[in-house]
C-alpha cells in the first residue's frame, strides 16, 4: 500500500481483557482503502476479539473490556473517529453502514422465521431509510451482485431452505447492502465445503473490484490468506508476531512462529512423485 495515503482504519496499542485474561495485547495495524488485510492465527490468538473490538461489540456482547488503545476510523466525510471512545449511538450509525461484518456460520446469523429477502430488506430500510419498494429493488440488486441464482425466487425463501453457500451469499449481500467502506469477514468460508469455499473466495475477490470496500479477513487458513490477501497480520497468543505483504509472509517469514505455522500447512502437490505417505517436517514444534 502507498505510504502517504491516510489509513482508513488505524488500530493502535489495542489491549482487550476478559477478566484476568488478556485476549489482545497491545496490537497496532492499519487498513487502507481497497486493501484486503488478513489477520491470521490459531485458536485463541485474539483475531476474532480484534474484529469484535472494531465493531464495538466486545463490551456490548461479551464480558470483554478494552483496556487501552485507539481504533481510529476515517469516515466518508474524512473526519476521524476513535471507535473505542465512540458512544453507542455513534457506533450504531457506523456499524452495518460503514463497517459491516460477516461470520463463520451463516445459519446462526440469520433469523429462522423471516425470509432472507425480508432480512436483507430490513437492513437497508433501517440503515438507508429506503421505502418498501426501493428496499426490495436494492435486495434484488444485491442478490444479483453476489450471484444468487433466481434472486427473485430466493428472496422469499427461509434460511433453512438454502444451502450453506447460498446463506453465506445472503450474509455477504446484507453486509454490502449499505455500501460499507470496510467489510470484516470472520472465517467466512471455514464452515463451507471446499468447492463452495472456492466459489465464495472468487466472489469476494470479484466484489472487492466492484465495490472498492476494504476487507479485513480473519482466518486460520493460510490457503485462504494466500488466495485473497494483499497484506497479512500474523497473531499468536494475543500479540502480533509479524506483519507484511502476502509475498513477504509466505516467501520470507522472519519470525519463527510464522515459519512454524507455514511448515505445518498441508500443501496440495507437495507429495508429487513420492510413493508413500510422509510426515510433516515441523519447525521447532514445541514453540507452538
Amino acid at each position: 500500500m502507498t505510504e502517504q495515503e491516510k489509513p482508513l482504519l488505524s488500530v493502535r496499542d489495542l489491549t482487550v481483557t476478559f477478566g484476568s485474561f488478556t485476549a489482545v495485547d497491545g496490537i497496532s495495524f492499519d487498513l487502507y482503502d481497497g486493501q484486503t488485510l488478513a489477520v491470521v492465527g490459531e485458536s485463541g490468538s485474539g483475531k476474532s476479539v480484534t474484529a469484535l473490538s472494531i465493531m464495538g461489540l466486545v463490551e456490548l456482547g461479551t464480558r470483554g473490556k478494552i483496556e487501552e488503545g485507539e481504533i481510529r476510523f476515517r469516515q466518508p466525510d474524512d473526519s476521524i473517529i476513535d471507535l473505542v471512545q465512540a458512544t453507542e449511538d455513534e457506533m450504531r450509525a457506523i456499524r452495518g453502514n460503514q463497517i459491516s461484518m460477516i461470520f463463520q456460520e451463516p445459519l446462526t446469523s440469520l433469523n429462522p422465521v423471516y425470509t432472507v429477502g425480508d432480512q436483507v430488506a430490513e437492513a437497508v430500510r433501517l440503515h438507508q431509510g429506503l421505502d418498501k419498494g426501493a428496499a426490495h429493488d436494492r435486495v434484488l440488486e444485491m442478490f444479483r451482485l453476489v450471484r444468487i441464482p433466481d434472486p427473485e425466487d430466493r428472496m422469499s425463501q427461509y434460511p433453512h431452505e438454502m444451502s450453506g453457500g447460498m446463506r453465506q451469499r445472503v450474509m455477504i449481500a446484507m453486509a454490502l447492502s449499505c455500501d460499507p467502506t470496510i467489510l470484516i469477514a470472520d472465517e467466512p468460508t471455514t464452515a463451507l465445503d471446499v468447492t463452495i469455499q472456492a466459489q465464495i473466495l472468487g466472489l469476494m475477490r470479484d466484489l472487492r473490484e466492484k465495490t472498492g470496500a476494504a476487507v479485513l479477513i480473519i482466518t486460520h487458513d493460510m490457503g485462504v490468506v494466500a488466495e485473497v490477501a494483499d497484506d497479512v497480520v500474523v497473531m499468536s497468543q494475543a500479540k502480533i508476531v509479524e506483519t507484511g505483504s502476502v509475498y513477504d509472509i509466505f516467501e520470507n517469514p522472519t519470525e519463527t512462529y510464522t515459519q512454524a505455522l507455514l511448515a505445518a500447512v498441508p500443501r496440495l502437490g507437495s507429495m508429487a512423485g513420492q510413493a508413500t505417505p510422509a510426515p510433516f517436517d515441523l519447525v521447532e514444534e514445541q514453540l507452538l
Binding site: T195, D206, A264, R267, M271, P279, L282
Partner: protein, 309 residues
C-alpha cells in the same frame, strides 16, 4: 499399493449400499454400491464434500449401521450378518476416532478411565497390568502417564485427540477409522497428530480408513484415495493416480477448489454458483448405477454420461 492376488485384504466392502427413509416415502441414497479393498498397513483416504456418504460408509464398515445391501468382509470373514455376540470379537479389530475429541470423551470421567475402559470391557487386563498398559499408551501418544488422573476439560483439543487415539489403540486393532479426526484441530496441532498417526502405523502395521474433506491432508497421509460424490465412489486409485492424473470431472473440480498456500499461484476462479444435487430420491426412483472403468491398474473411474457434472 495395489493388492496382490496372494494376500487377503484386511477389509473388503462389496457393493455396499445404505438408504435412509425420509418424509413421503422418499429415500436418501447415502451410500450407493460402494466396493473397495483395504490392505493391512495401508491408508485409504475417502474424500468428498458434506453429505457425500463418507461417514455413513465408515459406520457401515464397523456395523454401527446396517447396510441396505452389500457385504463387509473383515480379515477374510463376512461380518455383515454376525449377531452382536459374534461381532464382539471382531470389534476389537476395528476402532474409530471422531472429529470432535471433546464430544467423544465423558466429561465426568478421568481420561485414564476412558482409555482403560476397552481393556476392562473386553476382559483383557486388570489391576496393575491395566495401569501399566494405560501408562504405556499415554506415553506412546506423547502424553505424560500422570495425566491419566485428569479430566477432559483440562486438556487442549490436540491432547484430547491424542487421548482418543490412545483409547482406539488399547485393543491393538488392525483397522482404525479416522472420521475427520484432525479437521477440528489447529494446523500446527493437526500436523503433529498426523505425524503421530503415521508413526503408529509404521510401528503397529495399522490400516487407516482416513475420512476427510481436506485434500491437502489426504495427499500427505494416503496410499490410496477414493473420491465420493452423492454416495458413490466416482474415482479410486493410488495417491499419485488421483492427485497427478485425476480423470473424473468431480475429482478435478475438488482439486481445483483447494486453496493453494502460495500467493504467486493464485488462480482465477470462475464465478460458479452450482451446487451438489440432492441425494433424496422420490418413491420408485433411484440414482443410476455408474460403471467403473479401469484406466490403469488399480485406478478406477466412474463412467461419465453426456450430462457431465
Amino acid at each position: 499399493m495395489t493388492s496382490t492376488a496372494d494376500t487377503t485384504p484386511l477389509v473388503e466392502a462389496v457393493d455396499l449400499s445404505k438408504e435412509f427413509p425420509v418424509a413421503n416415502r422418499a429415500k436418501v441414497h447415502a451410500v450407493e454400491h460402494v466396493s473397495f479393498t483395504l490392505d493391512a498397513g495401508e491408508t485409504l483416504a475417502v474424500v468428498g464434500e458434506s453429505g457425500c456418504g463418507k461417514s455413513t460408509l465408515a459406520h457401515l464398515l464397523i456395523r454401527l449401521l446396517e447396510p441396505t445391501g452389500g457385504r463387509v468382509i473383515l480379515d477374510g470373514q463376512d461380518i455383515t450378518d454376525l449377531n452382536a455376540r459374534a461381532m464382539r470379537e471382531h470389534r476389537r479389530k476395528m476402532q474409530i476416532i471422531f472429529q470432535d475429541p471433546f464430544a467423544s470423551l465423558d466429561p465426568r470421567r478421568t481420561v485414564g478411565r476412558a482409555v482403560e475402559e476397552p481393556l476392562v470391557v473386553h476382559g483383557v487386563a486388570k489391576g496393575s497390568d491395566l495401569t501399566d498398559r494405560v501408562a504405556k499408551l499415554f506415553k506412546r501418544v506423547g502424553l505424560e502417564p500422570e495425566m491419566a488422573s485428569q479430566f477432559p476439560h483440562q486438556f487442549s483439543g490436540g491432547q484430547r485427540q491424542r487421548i482418543c487415539i490412545a483409547r482406539a489403540l488399547t485393543l491393538e486393532p488392525q483397522l482404525v477409522i479416522a472420521d475427520e479426526a484432525v479437521s477440528a484441530l489447529d494446523v500446527s496441532i493437526q500436523a503433529q497428530v498426523i505425524n503421530l498417526m503415521m508413526e503408529l502405523q509404521a510401528e503397529m502395521g495399522l490400516s487407516y480408513l482416513f475420512i476427510s474433506h481436506d485434500l491437502a491432508v489426504v495427499e500427505r497421509v494416503s496410499h490410496r484415495v477414493a473420491v465420493m460424490y452423492l454416495g458413490q465412489i466416482v474415482e479410486i486409485g493410488s495417491r499419485s493416480a488421483i492427485f497427478e492424473n485425476p480423470q473424473h470431472s468431480y475429482t478435478r473440480r475438488l482439486l481445483d477448489a483447494v486453496p493453494i498456500a502460495d500467493p504467486r499461484k493464485r488462480r482465477e476462479r470462475p464465478l460458479l454458483t452450482d451446487e451438489i444435487p440432492s441425494p433424496v430420491w422420490a418413491p420408485g426412483t433411484a440414482p443410476e448405477r455408474v460403471e467403473m472403468v479401469e484406466v490403469s491398474p488399480g485406478h478406477l473411474v466412474a463412467n461419465e454420461s453426456e450430462g457431465e457434472r
